[in-house]
Structures are given as structure tokens and as C-alpha cells.
């Protein structure tokens, strides 16, 4: 019996860790899924509106939370054309260059051979017990914000969903920088020196309001996924840098409905979750051309004439953007730590970009708790400097606490420009210097 178990485990490990070599065709299929045509659904057409009256007809191409919102009449969605979000060619090329080298380790959170590009471009299989984990790696090492980018500014609004009352408006700057897995901005594939082998940095600075002004957050993620992030918080009114424990990473960030772990769809370690691939489907997700959307002329004005996405629906909790039918991978991530405030997230990962435009979070009891949307804007229809970057621009988010009927919305001005995020932005000293 013991031997049998051992052999079984060994075989499972062999299957899951031995790379079944992906091919260049896999890469083509992964990055250009709409090359030979876009998905369709009976009765669905660009320009139409889905709302309470016709939601049942489209239940199959909606995620469960969005279906509930539409059914309740909380919002309606306009359907846009399905368009290709081509990632930058350097990222595709890096994927091809590393095809034969990437392997999962024996345990979750372990990977080898991934230098840059998409680690596992092959189509996920329901028969692969570690398919979910591979998709998580594709997300983690995804092109996301490219090698670096900034959101300047970034407006977060806290809203009572029942009354629509705007409770708080926070104004931030966010910066993202990949130290490794770089493909497009010099230097590639890594910034050196990098003694702790950091993978990525996220730097956040609060500009307004006064009570949290100059609060800064620095997250340093390691290449070693088994190592917890280093997170630092600078409080303006104390003028000092404090290390954060992970309790704060899974806590409400500055009172919002978003926890640091929620950033970008998932902002944590692969090894903190058990990842399960649930299937491939076509689904309506908020991806669009920013310049063609309804924009908010009041929240932000600048010399470039840029305007942020407008919000509407119940409590003004929903971005006024179009949704397009796209191929998504449904992946479930269940928290390994039983003390984690959530039990699991249901991710709907866009198959072409590996961004996560839709998430549903479940509480410890397993009840639906929060709904996350992050609108992805095509870079060629956004700010002029974003054109040709191949970055799906995070453009508008909403995190709706369905139990508390409360939401936090985010309006972005995302800029892909390496000048805005030099490596010294991601240092502890920068917190002190910027907060002084």
C-alpha cells in the first residue's frame, strides 16, 4: 500500500514537473487567440445592452456576480466589439526563447527556468492537476504593466452602494517596476545590482486627503515565491518607515474595500494559495478603448486633456465601460492559511493578456463577499505615449462589498513611461525622502 502510494505520488510529480514542451504554435495560439476569428454568442452583438430584462439570455457568458448585479438591476452593460490586445513583441519573443526551459518545482511556489516571457503558453488541460498553478505563474510573470509604469494620478472613491453617498476620495500615485523578467525597457532581462533577487516593486504614495497625505507603501516581491514580500509603510504624520506584517496585506487598505493582496486581481505569493483550473470559457469582461468611453470631466483635469472613466449604476459603483466577449480561464485560488480572511477567489483570467478583469471573493463561510472588476483599456486608444507599448492599461476598477453594500472605485491615468519609475523609487530611502 505504502509502495503504491509512493509510486503514485512519484508519477504525479513526474507528470507535473516534466515540461511537456510547448511549441511556437502554442505561443501563437496563446498570444493571438483571435487571429482566426473572435468568439460569438447567440443573440449577442456589439452595441447592444444587457440589463435586467435580458440577462437570463446571457447568463452563460457572465460571471456569477455580474449576473446577480444585472438581475437585480444594479447596473447594465454595453457590449463592445471583441478586439485583440496584442502584447509587446519583446514579451512574445522572450516566451519563445524560454519555451523549453521552464519547469514547475515539486511544491507550489517553485519554478525554474523562467527568465522572461509567459512561462506556460500551452493551453491548460483539465487533466493537469497543476494547470491552475501554471496559469497563476503566467499571471505573475505576465506583461501586466510591462516592465514599468505609473498611475499618476489614481483616484479611489469610497461609496455607500445603498445611498450613493461619496464618503471619501483618496488621490494616489502608483508605480510598478519589474526588477527581473524584463523584456522591453532597458536593461533586460534584469536590473542589477539586486542582492535580494527582487522580482517586482510596487510603490504607492497618497497625495490627498490631508489625514493620510504622504502615506506611502512599498512592496518588494522576491523572485523566490516562498519568501514573503517585504512591505514598508511610511506614515506622513509620523514621518517614519515601519515594516508591515502580512496581517496588513490582507487588511482593508486605508479603509477601502480593497486589500493590498487584491491589487491588480491578485497581489500575493503563488504559494499562499491552492490554485485550481476550472475551465476555459468565453465571457463578457470589461476591456475597451478608453477614448471611446463615457468619461468623467469633473474628477480629473489636466493640461493633456485626459479624463478618467466615469462611473454609474447603483451607488455609482460600476464603471461606464463596454464589455467584450473574450476567452477567459477560470481559476480558483483557495487560501492555504486557515486564518486568512477569505476562503477563496474565483479569477476570470483573460487568456490573451493574462490580466484579471474579473474576480469574485468568498468569505470564510464560503459566501460571495466581494466583486472585483478592473477595466482593461487598449494602449493604442489611450494616452498617446501608451500607443504601441503592448500593455493592457488598467483603467478603472471597482471592488464591491456585496454583503456590506459598499464599494471602492478607482479611476486611473496609467502611463507606460520608464522615466516615471526609476529603480530608486523602489527603495526604503525613497519613502523617507518623498515623505519628508
Amino acid at each position: 500500500m505504502l509502495n503504491k502510494t509512493f509510486i503514485s505520488l512519484a508519477l504525479t510529480a513526474a507528470v507535473s514537473t516534466t515540461a511537456i514542451a510547448a511549441t511556437d504554435q502554442d505561443v501563437e495560439n496563446s498570444f493571438f487567440p483571435y487571429k482566426s476569428g473572435v468568439p460569438s454568442y447567440n443573440g449577442l452583438s456589439a452595441g447592444m445592452t444587457i440589463n435586467q430584462s435580458n440577462v437570463e439570455q446571457f447568463k452563460e457568458i457572465l460571471d456569477p456576480a455580474m449576473y446577480e448585479f444585472l438581475k437585480a438591476g444594479d447596473t447594465e452593460i454595453k457590449v463592445g466589439e471583441t478586439t485583440s490586445f496584442d502584447l509587446h513583441s519583446s514579451y512574445v519573443d522572450a516566451t519563445k526563447a524560454n519555451l523549453a526551459n521552464v519547469k514547475l518545482g515539486d511544491n507550489p511556489g517553485e519554478i525554474s527556468g523562467s527568465v522572461a516571457g509567459r512561462p506556460f503558453p500551452e493551453e491548460p488541460s483539465m487533466d493537469d492537476p497543476r494547470a491552475g498553478e501554471k496559469l497563476a505563474w503566467n499571471y505573475k510573470y505576465g506583461y501586466n504593466w510591462g516592465d514599468s509604469a505609473a498611475i499618476m494620478p489614481f483616484y479611489w472613491k469610497f461609496r455607500n452602494m445603498e445611498t450613493g453617498k461619496l464618503e471619501r476620495t483618496l488621490k494616489f500615485n502608483f508605480h510598478f517596476l519589474n526588477f527581473t523578467h524584463r523584456t522591453q525597457q532597458d536593461p533586460t532581462p534584469a536590473i542589477t545590482p539586486n542582492p535580494s533577487n527582487l522580482f517586482r516593486g510596487i510603490y504607492v504614495q497618497v497625495l490627498e486627503p490631508f489625514d493620510v497625505k504622504n502615506t506611502q507603501l512599498l512592496i518588494q516581491r522576491f523572485e523566490d515565491d516562498l519568501k514573503r514580500d517585504n512591505a514598508y509603510l511610511y506614515l506622513g504624520f509620523q514621518r517614519r518607515v515601519r515594516r508591515l506584517s502580512t496581517g496588513q496585506v490582507t487588511d482593508s487598505f486605508l479603509g477601502s474595500d480593497v486589500m493590498i493582496e487584491d491589487f491588480e486581481g491578485y497581489n500575493g505569493r503563488i504559494s499562499d494559495m491552492k490554485w485550481t483550473f476550472k475551465g476555459t470559457r468565453n465571457m463578457l469582461v470589461p476591456m475597451y478603448n478608453h477614448n471611446e468611453m463615457v468619461l468623467d470631466s469633473e474628477s480629473h483635469q489636466d493640461d493633456e486633456g485626459y479624463q478618467v472613466v466615469a462611473f454609474g449604476g447603483k451607488g455609482n459603483c460600476f464603471p461606464n465601460v463596454t464589455y467584450q466577449l473574450r476567452k477567459v480561464y477560470e481559476v480558483e485560488s483557495a487560501s492555504v492559511d486557515s486564518n486568512h480572511p477569505i476562503s477563496k477567489r474565483q479569477h476570470f483570467i483573460d487568456a490573451q493578456t493574462f490580466t484579471i478583469p474579473r474576480n469574485i471573493t468568498y468569505d470564510r463561510k464560503g459566501d460571495m463577499w466581494k466583486s472585483w472588476s478592473i477595466g482593461q483599456a487598449h494602449p493604442d486608444h489611450h494616452l498617446p505615449q501608451n500607443k504601441g507599448t503592448g500593455v493592457a492599461i488598467d483603467d478603472a476598477f471597482t471592488m464591491i462589498d456585496m454583503q456590506a453594500q459598499h464599494c471602492t472605485t478607482g479611476q486611473f491615468k496609467g502611463i507606460v513611461d520608464p522615466e516615471l519609475t526609476p529603480a530608486n523609487k523602489m527603495t526604503v530611502q525613497n519613502l523617507r525622502a518623498s515623505g519628508k
Binding site: F158, P195, S196, R243, V428
Partner: protein, 539 residues
């Protein structure tokens, strides 16, 4: 939201900006200034003290600005300032308890029952500069503020309404490092402790605002300083490395302990210093004869250096500071009978500090440990004989911060638990020192968050083991919206019962005058139980 306001910089700021920029850059070309960003608040803080009535009716207006300037060769050039004006109406609304006419029955009546020693010392003279020209002159340039200056504390000869005004600029070096220069009136923060300080000693502190309980940000006394930072960033060993130098060119200012007649006078030192002998042939002899002046001179300036960095999971600093003790040291002028014009002079001796800090995140405990230490040479501790003794001091704090989710308390947000244990060791301790050779103070902060962090209850507890004194401060903060904030709380103290022998009046333990040091800032405030409320409007 802060408002973007087109403003004309005042001449002083512009002078500092252009002058320093040109000096540092060796650049005499044009300077392009952007609009200034302004933010700030107005606040009323009303405190009511048990058995006393109103103890604070402080109205504060504070404005902060930052103005970027584009120059050639330098980056991130900005002028930054903080202006603050305060009016404390307690001197008008409760003038029977506080102010120039607030008399006490005996010295220390605000914190202990009368004992035999008090017949030797007279009650302190409130606001000596309103009531006693001789004592006013003796305390000149230290505790010589009159009632009106306490009423409007920023409007004084040091122009304290300018809390900060400095220019900062970065120079990108050829190797990628950054050199930052900052010059002006500013706060420089070393250390990461709450309530008490170990390394955060560059700026003196105004304890008269609210003892130890206000944020240090609000009670540090800014100084005119030049700082230089060499930001080296990561290298093959460290993830971050930074070397900084500080030159405090301001005229020395000690910490403000509060003048007799003010509601908050830490250790009741203000009334002790404005007291006098009450009986015997030397009756009328003031306690203090003079406060030694430290006129501005190059050798009277203060300098420091710090190297800090990140190594793996640890952030660290190594600190050195050559400064002047910010708390007074009283030197007896005569070994025998007191001189008729005063018994003690107040000195602020030179101190050399070496210290360091380390923060470490423990993945196993999911918590952060903090350690700060300092070793000083040149400090002077009070003692019965001669009033003082120079001794080396060793101080440290061990901090532990953890976030804990407690669903039973009705919120999904994690509670912050932050504990600190401060230790102090007097290396050359004497039995006639009114301090233990080793003493510890423990603090606890337990803070919760409700209603999207807009409602935040917390409790702070501090316990001084040597003094056997405890402060308990529960409070609730409510953010009504982006502009309005209300804070309601209590501040309760216990202890302050320690006695200490004073050889002048006999060998028995007594309270005055030395037990004030033993009972510390918590114990001496034992009758300052307060209800506190503040309302702030931010813009």
C-alpha cells in the same frame, strides 16, 4: 482635497530657495517655479481635567506648502514649509487654574499631597515674567515666556509660527547615486518609537503642548539645519544604502518642559524652577540663579551622521550625534550655604551619542521586531549632592508590531497591536540619584478599524515600572468625511506616590523636590485625568 493655489512666495522663502539653489548648484541662470501646493487644517482641542475644569482650549491653524522649482543640473528641487498658529483659550476661560494668577497652596499641589518638605520650598511663581522680574531674569531664554506667549505659543522671538521652511534638491551623480541637500528650518527624524525617544533626539520637543501624548510630528521643535544625504541605493550586499550628515546650525534650544502656570508642565519642573526657599535665614532665595547661555558659535552647533540600509529582511541604521542635552541639569553654585541670589544654575551639557536600530520581519511570527539603542557620554543626571552627576547612559527599546484579526470584535479589519519596552541604564549610578539604575517603561497600542477605517477606537497604555505609574488613554476617532474628523477620549493616570530622601530636610523619604524625577512624566501627572475632544477640518 488640498487646493492648488497660485501664490506669491514670501521674500524669505524665495530668498532661501534661490540662494541655496544657486549656492549648491553654482548656477546663476533662471529658476522656474511652479504653483505651490497647499494643504492644512484648523482644529479645536478641548480638554477637561478632573477637579480642575478646562485644561485646554487650543485652536490651531496649520498650513503646509510645497513648491517645485525647475533648475538645470538639479532635480526634485522644492521649497517646503509648514506654518502654524495656535491660540489656547484656557488662560482666558479658566484663569483661576492656569495663567499668571494661578497660584498653588504649596509646591507640587497639582500632583501630590502636602508633606513636611513643602514648608522648605515655596510654591512656584506662575509665569515669572508676569510676576517676578528677578526670577524672570534668572530663567531668561528658557522658561521666561509670559502668559501671552503661552496663549499664542508660536509667536515668539524664534518665529515658531514658521514650523518648517526648507529647500531640498537632488543631484544625480555620474554613478547613478543621488546626493540630496536640504537646508532650512526642519525636523529630522531618527528612530521609530512612540511616546518616548531613544534615537529621535535631533530636534528638541515641546512638552508644554500636551506632555508626551501628542504626535512627535507636532511637538518637535524644528531647527535650522543643513542635511546632506548620499543615496547609494542597492549594491552587491545591501538592498539599500544611505549615508546622511546633519549640521544643526541653529542656536541651541532645549526641550520646552512647560512654564509654571501652564496646564502641562512635565515633571512639574516649571514650578520647581520658579520656586524659592520658604523658611529660615535663606528664605526668599530663588532655586534658579541663571540659565547658562549657549550663544551661537560654530563650536556650539550640533552635528550627526547616520548610515542606514536594508539587508535581506532587516532594515538597520548606525547613528552618531554630537549634540547638547535637551533636558536641564541643575548645578549647585555652592557646596555650603546657598548663595542669596540663587541656589542652582541650569546647564545643558554636551553629549556624544552612538546608536543604532534594526527592524526585522519575522516570517514565522508574521510580526515585526524593532530594536533601537543609544549609548551616550556626557549626560548629567540629577542627584541630591551638587544637583547632578555626569554619567554614561544606555537606552534601548524593543518593539513588537503585529496585526491580528479578531472577528469576535465585529470587524474584518485587523487590529494593530504595537508594544514597546523602553529600558534605561545609568552606568555611574549613585544612591542619591532620584532615578533607578535600571528602569523600564512599557507601552501598548491596541487599535481597531471599523466602517472602512473611518471609525477607529484605540487604547494606549504606558507603565513606568520604576515610578509604578500608569497612563491609560482610550479614544475613538471618527472621520466624518475627507475634511472633518472628531476624536474623543480619556487620559487617565495612576501612580506618582514615590518618595525620595532630600538631605536638606532630613533623611526621611519625602516628595519634594527630588521625587518628581523618580515619578517621571506619568507619575507626576497623576492628577491630570482628562476628557479630551478635538474637532479638525482639513483642507
Amino acid at each position: 482635497m488640498s487646493k492648488k493655489i497660485i501664490t506669491t512666495m514670501n521674500k524669505l522663502a524665495a530668498g532661501v530657495a534661490v540662494g541655496v539653489t544657486a549656492m549648491a548648484a553654482g548656477y546663476t541662470g533662471s529658476v522656474v517655479a511652479a504653483d505651490a501646493e497647499w494643504a492644512g487644517f484648523v482644529e479645536n482641542a478641548t480638554y477637561v481635567r478632573d477637579g480642575v475644569g478646562l485644561s485646554k482650549f487650543r485652536n490651531t491653524a496649520q498650513a503646509e506648502f510645497s513648491k517645485s522649482i525647475k533648475t538645470e543640473g538639479w532635480s526634485n528641487v522644492s521649497i517646503n514649509g509648514t506654518l502654524r498658529a495656535t491660540y489656547d483659550g484656557v488662560y482666558d476661560l479658566n484663569d483661576g487654574e492656569f495663567g499668571k494668577d494661578a497660584t498653588e497652596d504649596y509646591l507640587g499641589a497639582n500632583w501630590h499631597g502636602e508633606d513636611t518638605s513643602t514648608v522648605i520650598l515655596a510654591p512656584g511663581t506662575p509665569f515669572p515674567c508676569d510676576n517676578d522680574p528677578t526670577k524672570c531674569n534668572s530663567l531668561k531664554d528658557y522658561m521666561d515666556q509670559d502668559e501671552n506667549e503661552a496663549r499664542f505659543p508660536e509667536f515668539n522671538d524664534q518665529l515658531d509660527f514658521i514650523r518648517e521652511l526648507y529647500i531640498s534638491a537632488d543631484k544625480q551623480l555620474d554613478n547613478g547615486d543621488i546626493l540630496n541637500l536640504s537646508f532650512g528650518k526642519q525636523q529630522v527624524v531618527w528612530g521609530k518609537t512612540d511616546l518616548f525617544r531613544v534615537l529621535d533626539v535631533i530636534n528638541p520637543v515641546d512638552y508644554s503642548r500636551h506632555n508626551i501624548y501628542d504626535e512627535l510630528e507636532d511637538i518637535r521643535i524644528p531647527q535650522w539645519m543643513l542635511t546632506a544625504e548620499w543615496r547609494m541605493g542597492p549594491n552587491e550586499i545591501f538592498d539599500d544604502s544611505n549615508l546622511s550628515f546633519i549640521w544643526n546650525i541653529d542656536q541651541f534650544r532645549p526641550s520646552n518642559l512647560g512654564t509654571c502656570g501652564q496646564p502641562y508642565r512635565i515633571l512639574d519642573a516649571g514650578c520647581f524652577f520658579s520656586s524659592e526657599l520658604a523658611v529660615g535665614p535663606f528664605a526668599g532665595t530663588p532655586i534658579i540663579h541663571d540659565v547658562v547661555d549657549y550663544d551661537w558659535s560654530l563650536e556650539n552647533t550640533q552635528i550627526g551622521a547616520k548610515w542606514e540600509g536594508v539587508y535581506g529582511d532587516a532594515t538597520f541604521s548606525v547613528n552618531a550625534l554630537h549634540y547638547r542635552q535637551q533636558l536641564p541639569s541643575i548645578h549647585a553654585r555652592s557646596a555650603g550655604a546657598p548663595l542669596p541670589d540663587g541656589i542652582f544654575d541650569i546647564h545643558f551639557p554636551r553629549v556624544n551619542l552612538l546608536g543604532g536600530s534594526i527592524d526585522y520581519y519575522s516570517m514565522d511570527m508574521d510580526a515585526v521586531w524593532r530594536l533601537e539603542t543609544s549609548y551616550t557620554q556626557g549626560e548629567e543626571q540629577p542627584r541630591d549632592t551638587n544637583g547632578f552627576k555626569e554619567t554614561d547612559m544606555f537606552r534601548y527599546v524593543i518593539g513588537f508590531d503585529k496585526n491580528i484579526t479578531i472577528p469576535e470584535l465585529g470587524t474584518r479589519s485587523a487590529f494593530l497591536v504595537s508594544t514597546q519596552l523602553f529600558g534605561e541604564h545609568i552606568l555611574d549610578h549613585e544612591v542619591d540619584m532620584p532615578n533607578e539604575a535600571d528602569n523600564w517603561i512599557a507601552t501598548l497600542l491596541f487599535k481597531g478599524f471599523y466602517v472602512n477605517n473611518r471609525l477607529s477606537p484605540q487604547i494606549i497604555i504606558a507603565h513606568d515600572f520604576g515610578a509604578e505609574a500608569t497612563a491609560i488613554a482610550p479614544s475613538v476617532e471618527y472621520l466624518i468625511d475627507d475634511h472633518w474628523k472628531v476624536n474623543v477620549g480619556f487620559n487617565i493616570k495612576e501612580g506618582g506616590d514615590k518618595k525620595f530622601p532630600w538631605s536638606v530636610s532630613g533623611p526621611s523619604d519625602q516628595t519634594e523636590p527630588l521625587a518628581r524625577f523618580l515619578n517621571g512624566p506619568i507619575g507626576v501627572a497623576n492628577q491630570e485625568d482628562e476628557f479630551q475632544m478635538s474637532v479638525r477640518y482639513s483642507f
